[in-house]
């Protein structure tokens, strides 16, 4: 007997795009001084995101848009809930 298509595993999950990735950030004063061992040349912008505070998974982040000494432009954030640094295309 041929299995009915409804019974076959035809479900595939969608995935999130641009998930945050853990980052190695040196920030003694709270402002990033180096990302992945590369010194920060300048902080272009800084902003905070507080969202979903009404849920069991609130989001509280402090974002930094940085230019590294190599000339690379990166965005990192400090997750105030997890107390960890992440890298993400903002």
């Amino acid at each position: 007997m041929v299995a009915h298509p409804r019974d076959q595993g035809d479900s595939r999950a969608a995935r999130r795009l641009n998930e945050p990735r853990p980052a190695q950030v040196e920030a003694a004063t709270g402002i990033p001084a180096a990302v992945g061992g590369v010194a920060v040349a300048s902080v272009r912008e800084e902003w905070r995101v507080a969202d979903r505070w009404w849920t069991e998974e609130p989001v509280r982040r402090r974002y930094f848009d940085l230019v590294l000494e190599t000339g690379e432009n990166v965005a990192v954030f400090y997750d105030l809930e997890q107390e960890r640094w992440f890298r993400q295309k903002a």
């Binding site: 298509p5 479900s11 999950a13 969608a14 999130r16 641009n18 995101v49």
Partner: protein
Amino acid sequence: MVACLMIPAFTLRAALRGEPELRAKPVALAPVPGTQPLVGPCTGAAERAGVRPGMRLSEALATCPGLHLVEQDPAGVEAEWERILRRVEDAGLAVEPVQPGCAYFETRGIERLAGGVQAAVQRALDAVGEAWEPRVGVADRRFAALAAASVAPAGRALVVDDEETELFLAPLPLHLLPLGPDRREELSGLGIQKLGELARLPRAAVADRLGGEGAEAWRLAQGEGDGRVSPRRPPAEIGETLEFPEPVANELTLSRALAALLDRLLTREERGGRIPRRISVSAKLVGGGSWWRAATLREPTAEPARLQQALAPKLSELPAPAVELRLELGELTESVGTQSELVRPRGSRLRSRLREGLRQVRAAVGIDAVYTVVEVAPWSRIPETRAILVPRDD
């Protein structure tokens, strides 16, 4: 003979299939959001506590404060009913489904093979499974079969001989008749509570007072009516499901997800060029429960734009954010007779080249190598919730 297979309170039973411990408790099906606040079918414990199907929600809760309400699960109901029908069809019976929980079939074709009417009907009961507490009524006419099924004990069949039909129907209540509540109330006001009381009235008087609807009810109460069954063609259906990383309520996002699912469905190999006449969309909702809508197309089509047009407006009826969306193509017809296009639509060559390129990527890297970016909430302040990646098959 005509047999009527019945599973009472099927919608409630299907909704409780994941929580069997609730079956012994006072439970009722919650009203559909946006409709009249009336409770649906309820368990025996709820009925013993005074709750009745169709009662106002406030009254039901006042009557039975411990009443547990279960969310409607139309997609689950549809899927469970389809599974049951397929099992009955696998047992060699051609069924005509009327609604979830009620179907007719002819016993004649299988009586000799099974060894009699009772044995043929027992096949159907066994195929359904005793957990559903099915019952079957058998008679020469559909209405008598339905009436017999409504009084048959769980897991048993009741066979009514043609000569005894009128006698059998006489003491049964009027609610079995396909009459509107107004007409039923009118008859009740005249002191008519049983089918036999209606059958004893002169036909002309009933038709004069209640019109065509009343005349038809009188005919059924006499034990007359249709004795034919129009079995369905077992549907060949193919489906695709998309799980969202988080609940989605935005219509634009749902519409894009629908488009992605359509793309995937139409390229499924088992479709083999056949064209759907029916398309259905269902969703699992965020707080439990589900939602289901179907559209039957005037002409079968495999054009994504027309299928999208048929379904997209229904997405606005979604009562809560969805965590999963499922699309099914049904009643697939052969593509013979379809007029081919005289002029190829713009961009079709580019699309076929893209499809070929993607096929090569998939062959080289793996089946899950190609995704489509679907914007979910481009306005979100949280970057990872702005877009999702949907697997792509074409």
